[in-house]
């Protein structure tokens, strides 16, 4: 069989999902956001949610998420996505409502909104991209920046005596009675992507079944901010981020 014959007669096993539109994403080459956007678009299509879902976009690199996935979106003020999602869902209880937030948005300026939405057990899904840095504003320290990690505001490395400790906010979420599912995933290998996709689908099912708040942390790379290639970033993440932010479920009450 020639390559052309395979394309003509074979089955399509992977392609750009229908709901990911043709706009070129503004993310840097190799950015984890793109992978998460793609699997979100796949899940929403596979679960037939495109007529029943509201996304809440953050301030940060993913501020333009609404330009790429063809569903209804609300662009929130910095950190306020869980408050916006709370009202959007309470007033439209049949809708699946999710927030998509970075570490600065969720774990710094928006800590109160995130923790309290989860503590109320709002039937929403929080997708939390943790790459340990502020990407959009040019690589400043995030609450999740690792000790010793160099950023533009910690040029000699994060010092815990000056800047405190890298915040494991998902561990906090897992402690709250309002959360039903808290898991830490990544999207750096094909296997990891498949697991992350399953986790997000599980979270959306939890929202539909009104089981409480689901939090999907995705430990991610920011190769521009980290100043290395995409492939190097994946390796660095495995070696440095994973020991502090270990993969796997922190809580799952819906087994």
């Amino acid at each position: 069989m020639t390559i052309e014959e395979i394309k003509q007669n074979g089955t399509v096993v992977a392609c750009k999902p229908r709901l990911l539109n043709d706009n070129n994403m503004h993310y840097c080459p190799g950015c984890s956001h793109g992978v998460v956007h793609r699997i979100l678009a796949e899940i929403i299509d596979e679960m037939h949610l495109d007529d029943n879902i509201i996304g809440v976009a953050p301030v940060g690199c993913a501020v333009f998420a609404y330009n790429y996935i063809d569903i209804d979106w609300i662009e929130a003020a910095h950190g306020r996505a869980p408050a916006v999602a709370t009202a959007a869902h309470r007033l439209n209880p049949d809708r699946v409502v999710f927030t998509y937030q970075g570490d600065g948005d969720l774990a710094a300026i928006g800590t109160a909104e995130a923790i309290h939405a989860a503590n109320r057990g709002e039937n929403i899904t929080i997708i939390f991209i943790n790459n340990g840095i502020y990407g959009m504003t040019g690589g400043q320290m995030a609450p999740t920046t690792l000790e010793g990690m160099k950023t533009s505001t910690t040029p000699y490395g994060r010092r815990v005596d000056l800047n405190g400790y890298p915040l494991k906010i998902s561990d906090l979420f897992a402690q709250l009675d309002g959360t039903c599912y808290v898991t830490r995933q990544s999207v750096h290998t094909p296997a990891a992507v498949r697991k992350a996709k399953k986790a997000i689908a599980q979270a959306f099912r939890n929202s539909i079944e009104k089981r409480g708040t689901s939090v999907i942390e995705i430990v991610s790379t920011c190769n521009s901010g980290w100043k290395m290639s995409a492939a190097q970033s994946n390796k660095w993440m495995e070696e440095n981020m994973f020991p502090h932010y270990p993969m796997g479920d922190l809580k799952n009450t819906v087994k």
């Binding site: 069989m1 014959e5 074979g10 096993v13 992977a14 392609c15 750009k16 993310y27 840097c28 190799g30």
Partner: protein, 76 residues
């Protein structure tokens, strides 16, 4: 014995040449264009060894920009 064959199409204008598909491919099918660039200036990915493809879709699974379509066929 039936053999699984694969093929990939890469949307070269959407590709940003991040190299993640090249790293993910278990069969060394893909590479980045060493010289040629797309309209946005990226050295986009292409199939340097197309016949080696087994259609596993690892490349498309890690692609951040949804640039890759993967086909699979069984050769009898």
């Amino acid at each position: 014995m039936p053999k699984v064959r694969g093929a990939v199409d890469i949307n070269k204008e959407r590709c940003k040449g991040c190299d993640l598909c090249v790293v993910a491919c278990p069969c060394d099918v893909l590479s980045l264009q060493p010289k040629e660039v797309n309209d946005r200036g990226y050295h986009f990915a292409f199939t340097v060894e197309p016949d080696k493809c087994i259609g596993c879709a690892a490349c498309a699974t890690v692609c951040p920009d949804g640039c890759i379509t993967v086909y699979r066929a069984v050769e009898k």
